[in-house]
Symmetry: C2
Amino acid sequence: MNFPSKLIEGAVEELAKLPGVGRKTALRLALHLLKEESEETFQLAEALVKMRAEIKHCQQCHNISDTDICSICSNPLRDRSLLCVVSDIRDVIAIENTAQYKGLYHVLGGVISPIEGIGPSDLHIESLLERLPKSEVKEIVLAISPTMEGDTTGFYLTRKLRDANVRITTIARGVPVGGELEYTDEITLGRSIVERTNYGKV
Amino acid sequence: MNFPSKLIEGAVEELAKLPGVGRKTALRLALHLLKEESEETFQLAEALVKMRAEIKHCQQCHNISDTDICSICSNPLRDRSLLCVVSDIRDVIAIENTAQYKGLYHVLGGVISPIEGIGPSDLHIESLLERLPKSEVKEIVLAISPTMEGDTTGFYLTRKLRDANVRITTIARGVPVGGELEYTDEITLGRSIVERTNYGKV
């Protein structure tokens, strides 16, 4: 693609590095910014730079944070006996948005994936094991996506946590709310029957 | 959506102002930037700010440009007897990418749309009419999208250009290359028959 301006070409090339943004989308975004007030672009750029330069990772749970210890870890109202282990920051946000969980988190920063060269030492597993004895945690909730890599990570963690004297649970698998039985895959449907719960239970 | 950090919330809010970017996508982009080297974010921000602050519009054709007169208008190899009228900068880029057009351009900056409150005076029509007598233009190619608004704009222009002593043409309408007759709409197919060309003509 030829551009009439080196300036727009530079912006398009940078925007096209973002995931899911091709050169056509990048051009659309750049032209949008050119149509809007320049203040819009400056605010966007400032917010990105500020975020990248100033954001921290919580020293305890590795969640992103504005402070050394994140707002969840430092909240006295959270249940310190519950620890939810997730692979990614996005999972923390997703679970927080359900408003159903009041415990603490631990973000692994990925899952074990030999294909991508990610081993246990690349994840925040060591810090999880170090954190436990000093904590009041009685139950660890593994909330890792049920993929091959996720299950491997879960299996590795349960072995590592065998001697930790905590209950290990995992999020329920089953037919999604609003999902139709007919279109649910066999493994999920099978598990939802084996792990059936009392009708009244929410 | 609750965010664990005000910094990421700020970035997500700014990113979500971009067209086609919702809050979920914005979060994905922000988290991507956090995973990459901070240099990536700084380069993106700098490219956007630089583009917005320094880009100009060509004083002659209103295309975006790094200089007062754009690289197309100032190129001595372009055919100055041909002037292609388009509604948007994107159309210039699209036509340039075909490498089939060697004339000049005039960017209207939109189309006449009473619903959106865009009248002829909001477009670069006056500057087109002023530009013509001083130019060597012999043919004006109207390359405006064949929508209701586009056709209205084209009709308005042909009336305004009636006394300009230039040939007025428009881009060919017909079945797209690679398109199947069966799936072509009736108006396009009808026009492609009425305006049929010699078989050997490319």
